[in-house]
Symmetry: C2
């Protein structure tokens, strides 16, 4: 991209979402930031300071070796009993329970839990797709905020650019169908932006408008990821993200304010 194009973007306020298309299959122990940098070189792209990189949880989990073999799991009595209700593999339910700190709802259709991180989602984010071996499942990163910070730090050295990072995953919503991408890890940006101090076009103060910007950024990246399963990393450019030391865990509503557990 030329400097002229870049200036034009700033002038017009365009936001561009760029899928990284040539990332290879990620394996445990891989240097994910290094793989992303190499893919960008292949694609004649570069990261620039102010860019945001959104990385799908599945490749972060893979690189971090968060893969469990079902064969190695001995399900508890509780897991066996719930697996019958859910029509699930008891070893899968056992792994979900180990990744959880609380069960929120269980029906024949779904097991909604609070993960050890505090996220409320189905199956503690444990995933049976996106793994090559059908006998394995993939868990969420142990500390996705730390994973995001690690990627940001390493990209700063490799790409010589200050890049904010979001790690995204697809979560369901209680009252709306379908999944949307949300931020489960973040580094280098403000995850919530309080617009209450700003004024709308008519000069009145906006009320109650704290935007979950990191989740909107994750959702925007999800649009590029859905176009092909081979796009697990996405650059968002021109989004005027606010630099900050926030973590995605700040997006979790405190239990004391939660009306729906």
């Amino acid at each position: 991209m030329t400097a002229a194009r870049s200036r034009r973007q700033v002038e017009t306020g365009e936001i561009v979402i760029i899928g990284i298309r040539t990332l290879p299959e990620v394996k445990p122990g891989d240097d994910l930031a290094g793989l992303i940098s190499a893919a960008l070189r292949r694609e004649n792209r570069e990261l620039r300071s102010g860019d945001l990189l959104v990385v799908a949880q599945k490749v972060v989990s893979k690189a971090e070796g968060r893969i469990e073999r079902l064969r190695a799991v001995k399900p508890s009595e509780l897991a066996r009993s719930w697996a019958r209700t859910l029509g699930e593999d008891p070893r899968f339910v056992e792994i979900v329970l180990r990744e959880s700190r609380r069960v929120i709802r269980m029906t024949e259709r779904a097991l909604i839990v609070e993960t050890r991180h505090g996220f409320i989602c189905a199956n503690a984010g444990v995933d049976r797709s996106n793994v090559r071996d059908a006998g394995t499942v993939m868990c969420l990163p142990v500390d996705p905020d730390r994973s995001a910070q690690g990627l940001s730090d390493r990209l700063r050295k490799l790409a010589k650019a200050r890049v904010a990072v979001i790690i995204s995953d697809t979560f369901g919503r209680p009252w709306r169908l379908g999944l949307t991408n949300v931020a489960i890890g973040a580094a280098g940006l403000s995850v919530l932006e309080d617009l209450r101090g700003t004024r709308d076009a008519s000069g009145r103060k906006l009320q109650g408008t704290i935007l979950a910007v990191a989740d909107e950024l994750a959702a925007a990246a999800g649009l590029a990821m859905k176009k092909a399963a081979q796009i697990p990393a996405v650059i968002i450019r021109g989004a005027a993200i606010a630099l900050a030391r926030d973590r995605a865990s700040q997006l979790i509503r405190p239990a004391s304010e939660d009306m729906f557990r």
Copy 2:
């Protein structure tokens, strides 16, 4: 934009989010599609077939005259009583109740209802900001799907382009802080995309991955809208949206499947 730029977009799979910056203050009875077309001409932009237009609820509601005067409202006894608990204007609570078909939760902090459309959100989407006159509030469009269809139909004539339309509003989420933009009205696109038939990079079938694409598109547009309150309409180009006759009401989870009311 040049044809070369346009071809390049398709090649690389970039998605571009373009805020429409010169829309004037919208007033009841205005031809919103006409105002958007005129703004695009001023900005040397054009709508193209395949583009998606996301319009903020506030300008749709304004154009449709969904403004209520607090002075004209006589609050019921229930509204008076709840207003005391909520620390709210009883006339505001009365309007919220009129826009609702069911109260889901009420605490000192929030009034969460099911709107007449079936959306579950705070205050039935009734908004006290974004109105010029402090003595008025703004309600959601009566039928946001019909509003979206009307905009799409009219833009087809004015812009000679087949443009999908989403009407967006910011809703809260029970377990995550902050608001995100979701689709409350839609025309011309598939609002949910079932990726279960597709395969991931390793050739395994993806499970449980129905994406709420319309909500991810609304969130992406929200990134451009947050940059300035004067951007209530946004073009999303290159998102490979699936053409369909879906409505945003299809995103509402049926009460029978709802575990969290």
